[in-house]
Symmetry: C2
């Protein structure tokens, strides 16, 4: 699919770009047409998945990785297509220091208190050593695709101790909840880029959180029968919040 006329140089750093919506993914729309080659026009940083929901995708410093259900991170070829991806050109604007030790829930609350506003989306990057991270990856699906809430039942969970690496992701405001994961959504990648996954929980100690406020959101909807015929329900991604937590 040719994306609307965006070439590298006219992308604004304030722009968050996503292909498809979280409500479509939740409904089992696991095949998109956007290649990672095209996606790179829109960002060097982000997360999501690839076609057939084959694991968790992480974008970092312009490279894109796919953590498969074995927990191993593989480099994603340019020709690979994505069913759901959220990307941006990351430019750290503000550094928030999280004092003391906290779990993921507490970290989110502490960050929420220190963000300039909760009405704008943020790209978030946390580099450091983490005493404990609980991450997951989902197994590749085969058609006819079952909804995300079922696919996630077969997730593999990995508990990482004293691990060095980077958390990559976003915080999106409530009013975007049918479109993107409501609130915080972070993926992890080890420093050697070998292991990672979707963050479920963790223990955080005196972390430096880099944030990048976004003021322009672009959604490229799939032009496929799979998307057009999906039952997106009332669009409120209530059940998605269960899946992504």
């Amino acid at each position: 699919v040719v994306l609307p006329g965006r070439t590298q140089q006219n992308i604004s750093f304030d722009s968050l770009f996503q292909t498809s919506t979280i409500s479509a993914l939740a409904a089992g729309v696991y095949d998109g047409e956007t290649t990672f080659k095209e996606l790179k026009n829109y960002g060097n940083f982000g997360l999501g998945t690839v076609n057939a929901l084959d694991g968790e995708m992480i974008g970092l410093d312009g490279k894109f990785y796919q953590v498969k259900s074995d927990g191993i991170a593989y480099s994603i070829p340019d020709s690979t297509k994505t069913s759901f991806a959220v990307v941006t050109f990351f430019k750290s604007e503000k550094r928030i220091h999280l004092e003391g030790t906290m779990n993921y829930q507490q970290m989110q609350q502490s960050l929420d208190r220190q963000l300039p506003t909760k009405n704008s989306p943020y790209a978030i990057r946390i580099q450091g050593t983490f005493p404990y991270l609980k991450v997951r990856s989902v197994p590749k699906q085969t058609p006819p695709y079952r909804p995300l809430v079922d696919a996630v039942k077969d997730q593999s969970i990995f508990e990482l101790k004293n691990v060095k690496g980077v958390l990559v992701g976003f915080r999106t405001p409530n009013y975007m909840q049918g479109i993107n994961v409501n609130g915080y959504h972070l993926h992890f990648l080890t420093e050697n880029r070998k292991i990672g996954g979707h963050l479920l929980d963790g223990k955080f100690q005196n972390d430096q959180v880099e944030i990048d406020t976004k003021s322009d959101v672009q959604i490229a909807l799939p032009k496929t029968t799979q998307f057009e015929q999906a039952d997106l329900g009332d669009g409120k991604a209530a059940e998605v919040n269960k899946i992504e937590r």
Copy 2:
């Protein structure tokens, strides 16, 4: 505000562009920074309002009009700014013929049955003679701005009989409900471009409805304190649906 690098020629016809969100407007964020000069880069067709919620805005064939609370349509200067606008370059893709006579509710249901999908946004244009149209316009607000649900209590209502003109607007999917008016949102302008307003109800007879499917949605969020400090609640635009109906 400089909008992300969009120049006229690289706009795709599939793109729906909006400034701010319906949930921000509902919360009383009635001042934006985007001028109509900039807005024209993103579309020649659309609806919304202007700063201070001064009436209902209609965009048609590249010209933008403001129907003030007196029901009269005034041409909008390029320098005027908008607090909420939804625009696109309209290109009729499909013509749906609505058989017989129906009110607005029935027209929406009949259209819904004939749309290719309800998962993509549509731009909608209906040119014709309408036996009866009930339209409204909202009065200009002064700070401190009260929420839309209160401002709309002072709306002026106009009942037009056997009137010739154009209905201009959109149908947006449920999953966009915190961002744009859920479902159908149409504004009216008479053929002589003198009178118009936000459509509340009407009597429709054998109308030809032109639709234009959009597959790319872009939202330019305001970079203002008014927006950043607004209480957008849980973002579900429930009360908005009451206001816009």
